[in-house]
C-alpha cells in the first residue's frame, strides 16, 4: 500500500487530530500573513477561519514532507483575495498588484521584523499603566474601542488616538532597541 492510499484510509478522527495539531501550530503565522493584506483584526480572523475550512477540505492533498505553513499561506492568500473582491474599499487599497507585492515584500523583510519585534515584550513592559491597560484591552481582551472608551471615561475619538500613539511609542521603542543592539554588536 502506498503512503498515499494509506492516508486516505486513515481514520477521519485521526486525520482531524493531525490537521488540528498542524493548524494550531501555524495559526498565528497564517493570521499575520493575512493581516498584512487586511490588518483589521476581526476581518483577518474571518479570513483565517475561511482558510481553515478550505485547508481541511484539501487536507488530503497536503504532502506531509512539505512544511505546513507555506502550504496554508497559499490558501490564505486565495481566501483573502476572494474576501477583498467583495469589498470595494479593500479593493481600492490592494488592487493593481499591491496585495501580492506586500505579501512578497513581507517575506523578504521577515528576519528584520523578527529582530525588531523580539524587543516588543520589553517595550510593552515599559508602558505606563494606563497605556498598558488600553493596549491590553484592545489587543488581548479584544474589547471594542467604544467599550474601552466607556471603561476609561475617554471619548471614542480620544481612545482611538491614544491607541495610535501607543503603537507609535512601541514602534519607536523596538526600533531604538534594535539600533542600539546593532551599534554595540
Amino acid at each position: 500500500m502506498s503512503p498515499d492510499s494509506e492516508r486516505r484510509c486513515e481514520d477521519p478522527n485521526a486525520a482531524q487530530q493531525r490537521f488540528l495539531s498542524l493548524f494550531l501550530r501555524s495559526e498565528r503565522e497564517i493570521f499575520r500573513y493575512v493581516a498584512v493584506l487586511v490588518p483589521n483584526v476581526a476581518d483577518a480572523e474571518d479570513i483565517v477561519q475561511q482558510t481553515a475550512l478550505a485547508l481541511w477540505e484539501k487536507f488530503n492533498a497536503y504532502d506531509p514532507a512539505q512544511p505546513f505553513t507555506p502550504w496554508a499561506c497559499r490558501f490564505a492568500l486565495n481566501k483573502a483575495r476572494q474576501w477583498i473582491e467583495r469589498r470595494q474599499r479593500w479593493q481600492a487599497l490592494l488592487d493593481k498588484g499591491l496585495a501580492e507585492e506586500l505579501a512578497q515584500r513581507r517575506e523578504e523583510l521577515k528576519p528584520e521584523f523578527e529582530r525588531r519585534l523580539a524587543r516588543l515584550d520589553g517595550c510593552l513592559g515599559k508602558l505606563p499603566g494606563e497605556q498598558r491597560e488600553l493596549i491590553e484591552g484592545y489587543y488581548y481582551r479584544r474589547a471594542g474601542i467604544e467599550a474601552l472608551a466607556g471603561e476609561s471615561g475617554r471619548t471614542v475619538e480620544a481612545t482611538y488616538k491614544m491607541l495610535q500613539r501607543i503603537r507609535h511609542t512601541l514602534q519607536s521603542c523596538v526600533e531604538t532597541a534594535a539600533r542600539q543592539e546593532e551599534a554595540t554588536a
Binding site: 477521519p12 490537521f19 498565528r28 476581518d43 490592494l94 506586500l102 521584523f113 503603537r167 514602534q171
Partner: protein, 540 residues
Amino acid sequence: MKIDFPSREFDEAVAAVCHGLGSSEQMRALNELLRANAAARDEYLFRAELHSRLASEPDLFARENESKVTPENILPLRSARRPRRVTWALALAACIALLATGWWVAQVSLSSGRKGATSKAVAMLDRVVDAEWNQRDEAPRLGAPLEPGWLRLKSGLVQIVFYSGARVVLEGPAELQLISPDEAVCLSGRLVAEVPPQAKGFRVRTPLMNVTDLGTVFGVEVKQRQTELHVFKGSVEFQSPAGAAKQSLLEGRGAIAGGANAPRLIPANPAGFASLFDLQNKSSEAEVLRHEQWRAASGRLDEDPSLLVHFDFEQTDLTDWRLPNTSKRKDAAPDATIVGCQWTEGRWPDKRALEFRGVSDRVRLSVPGEYESLTLAAWVRVQGLDRQFNSLFMSDGFEAGTLHWLIRKDGVLGLTVINSGPGDVQIVASLSVLALDEFGVWAHLAVVLDGDGKRVTHYVNGVLVGEKTLKINRLFRIGATELGNWNASGAPDNDPSLIRNFSGAMDEFCLFSRALSAEEIHALFSVGKPQPDPLIQTRN
C-alpha cells in the same frame, strides 16, 4: 486625495486601515503611495506587523500577576474576551467533510463567530428529531441561539423558539429565514406556529401571503405555486403581498393562495400537520432512547480496569448524601460525599444531575494511589463563570503531584499540575472554549495528563482544544479532592481568587488511571451526547 510620506495623513491612513475604518478615498490614496514609494511600503508593512503581532501573541500579555499568591494567577485573565473563532470553524469543517464521506461523526457543540454578550440572536433551536440540514456553512446545533439568517432543513423536524415566545415547528424540506424575534419568512416547507399572548403579532411571510398572528396556533404549507394557511386555534390575519386587503381567518378555517385569483377559503386540516404536532412525542422517545443507550454504555465502562472513579449521578434516593462510585475496580476510590448542591434534570429529562450554585456546594472524595497518567472527563452544563477560577475537579490546597482542573472566567479550560508546591506548577490552558452561548448547554469536557507521552491535552465534545508538552516528570496523585469547589487548605483566606465554586450542573464524572486516546475521548462523548445530532443524522 494624495498622501505623502512621511506625513500625518500617512499615519492616519495606516491607523484607519488597522482598525478597518479607512475611507475609500484614503485607501485608494494609500494604494497609490505604497505602489510608488518603497520606503512607505516597508513602513506600512512594519506597522501592520506590529499591530498583528499584538493581536496574535497573547503571551505578550500573559506575564502579569506573577507575584500573586496562587499559581493560577499566572494565567492571563481575559474577562470580556471574544471567543476564539478559528477552532470552531475547524471542528465544523471536520463535520462537513466527514458528512461528505458518509462518516458518522458527532457534531461539535461549539459556536462559531458569535460574540458572547453581543449576540444578535433572535431565536433558539429547541428540539430536533432526525434533522438533516442543507446548510452550506454552519449547521445549527441543539440549544444554540440562532441569529437572523436562513435555516435550510433537508428532512426531519425541528422546533425553533423565537425570543418573542413564538414556537415554530418546521418540517423539512423547508427554507425558513429568521428575520427578528417576531418575524420569519418561509420560502418552502411546512410549519406550525404556536403563538402565546405575549408574542401576539408574530408574522410569517411567504411568497404568496403574509400571515400575522392574533394569538393562535396556525399551520402554513408553502409549495412551489401555492401557499396554504390553516388556523387551528384563535385567529390570524393574512394578506397577499400584492397589497390586497387584510383578511382575518378564524379557528377551523383555512385559505389557499395561488395563481392570480384571490385566496380560496377551505376548512382547516389538522391531519395534514399531524407529524408536526407529534414532535413532542417523537423527541421525548428519542431522549429516552439516548438515555438507555448511554446507560448500557455506562455499565460497560464500569468494567474498565483503569476506571478509578465513575459517578453516573443515577441514584434513586435523593436524600442520600453519598454519591456512589460505580467503578467495578476492586481498589477503586470510596463513595463521595455531597455537600449542599441540588438535584436537577440532567442531559435527558429522566436523568439526574447535581447542581452547584452556592459557595459551599461541593462533592468531596478521596482517591488513593500514585499514577503516571490520568484522564478526567465530565458532562457539565455551565451556568455562568462567576469566579476567576471555577473548579471542575481540584485537589485540596497545592499538594505536590496533585491537579486542579478548572474553567477560567474567560472560558479557558485549565489544568494545573503541581510539582513540588504552590510556586512550582505547570499550567496548561486550552483555547477559550466556553462563551456565553455555551452556557446552559450540556458539554463534555476532558483532560488527559499523559506522563509517558509527556503531554497534556484538553478536549471539548471530543475535539482537541489545547495541547502542551508536560514538563513535570513525576508520579501524580489526587488525594483529598472536590468536584465543583476547592478547599484552599492553608492558603491565605482573604484572597477572592481562592473562592472557586463552580456554577452549573454535572451529570457524569470519570477518572481513569491512564491516558485515554483522542479516539477514546471522542467515544465517551459520542455515547453520552444528549441528542442525536442536529447536523448529521445518526446511522441506524
